[in-house]
Amino acid sequence: MTSIRQKQINAIKQMLNLNQAPTKNSIAEPVWKVLIYDRVGQDIISPLISVKELRELGVTLHVQLHSDRDPIPEVPAIYFCAPTEENLGRISQDFQRAIYDIYHLNFISPISRQKLEDLASAALQANCVASIHKVYDQYINFISLEDDMFMLKHQNSDSLSYYAINKGDIKDTEMDNIMDSIVDSLFSVFVTMGTVPIIRSPKGNAAEMVAKKLDKKLRENLFDARNNLFHTDTHMGSFNFQRPLLIILDRNVDMATPLHHTWTYQALTHDLLNLTLNRIIIEETSATGGARAKSRPCELNSNDKFWSTHKGSPFPTVAEAIQEELEEYRSSEEEVKKLKSSMGIDNENDVALSMVSDNTARITSAVNSLPQLLEKKRLIDMHTTIATAILNYIKSRKFDTFFEFEEKIMSKANVEKGLVDILSDPDTGTPEDKMRLFIIYYICTPYISDADYSKYETTLQEAGCDLLPLVYIKRWKSYTKMASGTNQYEGAGTKTVNMFSKLVSQGSSFVMEGVKNLVVKRHNLPVTRIVDHLMDFKNSAEMEDYHYLDPKQLKAADIPRNRSPFQDAFVFVVGGGNYVEYQNLVDYAKQKTTSGSTKRIVYGSTTLNSARQFLKQLSLLGQEI
């Protein structure tokens, strides 16, 4: 099964090829085109296709829809935007000004009949119906960041955030709009994948609404014989076994994980360096007295071999791996240099034939591998800068202490004394960090006496924390206490491994003294646990309580008891996801695959929140109470 990211790339490439099937010939005559996108389209395309690939596909110019554009004659213009009123107005303006000669309009989500008629009348008025060659509905209203992770919106994501869904004064119409946009995007995910999932969701919150609406939409589309988007391939065998499971969860099921201090490479870049759409901007301050700070954008995507192998590893492993790569690179550089010197010597003496042949072969291999070496060097440089920046943050905010503590809290160890020390210590971490730690403590301990609580509150206030999120969390806890009683974070923990001595002795550039080398024990977060139960049909609270919706069946059916475990799953979190959960799911899938049953899990959410953003939303919610 090709990944969702690959399918999205194929769809976009076909669109850029003017909706014709791509030819096999590697050397083809270039067809020039102009690409025009809006902000949603930009977010979708930018993690998938680089500017170089666009040029290879023949796109000579790519501009924003709402910018001033000059007329470009005779070249087809490909529009890729969402069918909002604003965009359509701008497109009609373009028709009036007759900027381009050939229009290919691609709408990210399907355009309604009414808007299509408006567009038709605008085109008629501007007298350019003949130049509109194609109008397409592309069902790709989502952003895929990795092969198995996607999210719905990036810019303008506040409309879909946790705050927007849970705020106290939300109107029904607003809620409907939000739900509709989520359902629309999820629907386009499954159209792109080409499968109809079986939906399971908990009862009683936003997830249930999304699940029911999605079920209705899928059902309507399946039984609409005329434009059925899910072409069933008869040769795919028994369709029953290939259908994936879609689990829709609400953020409320696990509030501690977004605030957790992270320890894996990708999660750290997201938390500390604001990884957005697979891009980071690093500020390099120049060492000389000047105050100039150069900011360098770095792109981290799956082409980078180092990144794809190490994005889930804990930070000390990453530091070691960078060292290794650096050593390897240095040795290959040495070889090339030796070659140069040997060639220099040989030019003076009489050359024996065998020497020449050896050297020519070596030169050929060196010259061929030179661009690869340069690329590798660039990547190593980039990762070194990123890792150093992260290391500085960790040291200044004592991230590792927080991480260790939170892991201990989650494993129900008794940590009363240490907590007060950390919270009142002005050196460790920002007030935000302390707030995060305390909220996790509050969520995970079943009972805190009032005296203790007020003591903690005063300590926090002295440290300068904003106490509003606590108010909201208190209310949330009282709600969830009614639902489930057990602590769901069991099994976490860390052990300190004395491996950093090896690094220091190597005289490495990473001075990791003072940073504990923590190795995380393998454990399952609540989300992973739910996924595990649902996929394997284990007997648990979730299996009984959750809805079971199957769009392909005409009437609501009971949970079939004799089905084999699912192999593919889509986990969707309404209200914001994060890299920690994603990493946990990836680890779980890998573990299951190595132990026999293959599992493929795709993680999706409305947006990706860093801990800071989530804390802000919680404080806004706390203000309302």
């Binding site: 909706n19 590697s26 050397i27 005559e29 270039p30 020039w32 102009v34 040029r55 290879e56 023949g58 000579t60 110019l61 501009v63 554009r69 000059d70 470009i72 004659p73 005779e74 070249v75 000669d101 399907p110 355009i111 009949r113 299509l116 008629e117 567009l119 038709a120 009348s121 085109a123 008629l124 007298n127 119906v129 003949a130 509109i132 060659h133 194609k134 109008v135 397409y136 509905d137 069902y139 434009n227 988007l229 034939l353 020449v356 042949s357 020519t360 072969a361 030169i363 050929t364 010259v367």
Partner: protein, 314 residues
């Protein structure tokens, strides 16, 4: 999902309603009046390159069929091969010169920034296409050269083994035969063993010692010639390698040339700037000095006039 049909249906519906409402219909103008001159030139260049690519691909099999085993397979004579070579070279050269002219034209025209980007990207894509087609041509040529060398090798092997057989056969009888083998450099298409002229024995009877001597001399000569031919072969293959490397290097050097020129112009302009800056600083210092002189003079004059007035009034 393609909704073009739906769109056209909507257009028709809107047209009907407009007609019913009695609004005026605008004449549709399908034929374009003007064509973009820049694009015409670009398209012309692309057409030439496409033509070259088609010719190369069509004749590829015949071109590469150096050793003609079956008479039914298409093949080419050497002259037609060289014709193709020269023609391809010509087209590539003319395309590059046309591209350069085009580039200069575009830079001279004053057109808005987006169009400039558009045209420069078009030029880049044409260049890439041309490069890939010329690489195709170079590859086919290299394959042909390799095949020719291989056939040379094969035919030489044949002649050597035939001469070896002759040697062993001729040394058996007591009659002395000196075989002089003439390694024939020019190989015909048919691999037939080369005639090894056998020189008839001069003296029918020779002593055993002389025979041995001649035998050892033969063997010695034979080995020498073998090693010579081996070396020649190796040199040939090395030369082919070196040409490949040379191509790579020349490409890199050309790239760097562009960069170096850019750097040189930047350096020249920056030295000019520095010179101007020096000039201006000098003028500023002079003016400053002049100003100071005038201010001092003014102050002196004023103070003297004050003293004078004071003395006068008193």
């Amino acid at each position: 999902m393609d909704i073009t049909m739906l769109f056209k249906a909507c257009v028709k519906a809107v047209k009907m309603t407009n007609k019913n409402m009695g609004s005026k219909e605008v004449q549709t103008n399908i034929l374009k009046n003007t064509r973009d001159t820049n694009l015409i030139k670009a398209r012309g260049i692309v057409k030439q390159v496409v033509k070259l690519q088609n010719i190369l691909l069509e004749n590829r099999n015949a071109y590469l069929n150096v050793v003609n085993y079956l008479s039914t397979d298409k093949t080419m004579t050497e002259t037609s091969r060289q014709e193709i070579d020269s023609m391809a070279q010509e087209i590539i050269n003319s395309c590059t010169s046309q591209l350069n002219v085009y580039k200069q034209e575009i830079s001279k025209q004053s057109i808005p920034k987006q169009k400039v980007e558009h045209y420069s990207n078009i030029i880049d894509s044409i260049e890439k296409y041309l490069k890939s087609v010329s690489k195709l041509y170079a590859e086919t040529k290299a394959i042909r050269v390799k095949r020719v060398i291989e056939t040379h090798k094969l035919s030489k092997l044949e002649s050597k083994s035939s001469s070896e057989i002759n040697l062993s056969h001729s040394n058996k009888p007591s009659e002395q035969q000196t075989n002089v083998e003439k390694p024939d450099g020019i190989v015909k298409k048919n691999i037939i063993s080369l005639p090894a002229p056998v020189m008839e024995d001069i003296e029918t009877q020779l002593s055993a010692e002389e025979m041995q001597m001649f035998e050892s001399e033969n063997a010695h000569l034979f080995n020498e010639l073998n090693s010579l031919s081996d070396e020649v072969k190796q040199i040939e293959s090395k030369v082919v390698h070196i040409t490949e490397l040379q191509e790579l290097f020349s490409e890199k050097v050309l790239q760097q040339e562009g960069d170096i020129e850019r750097i040189a112009t930047t350096v020249a302009s920056s030295t000019d700037n520095v010179k101007d800056a020096n000039e201006q600083i000098r003028q500023a210092i002079q003016r400053n000095a002049g100003l100071r002189v005038w201010v001092l003079f003014f102050l002196l004059v004023m103070s003297f006039s004050l003293l004078f007035l004071d003395w006068y009034n008193d």
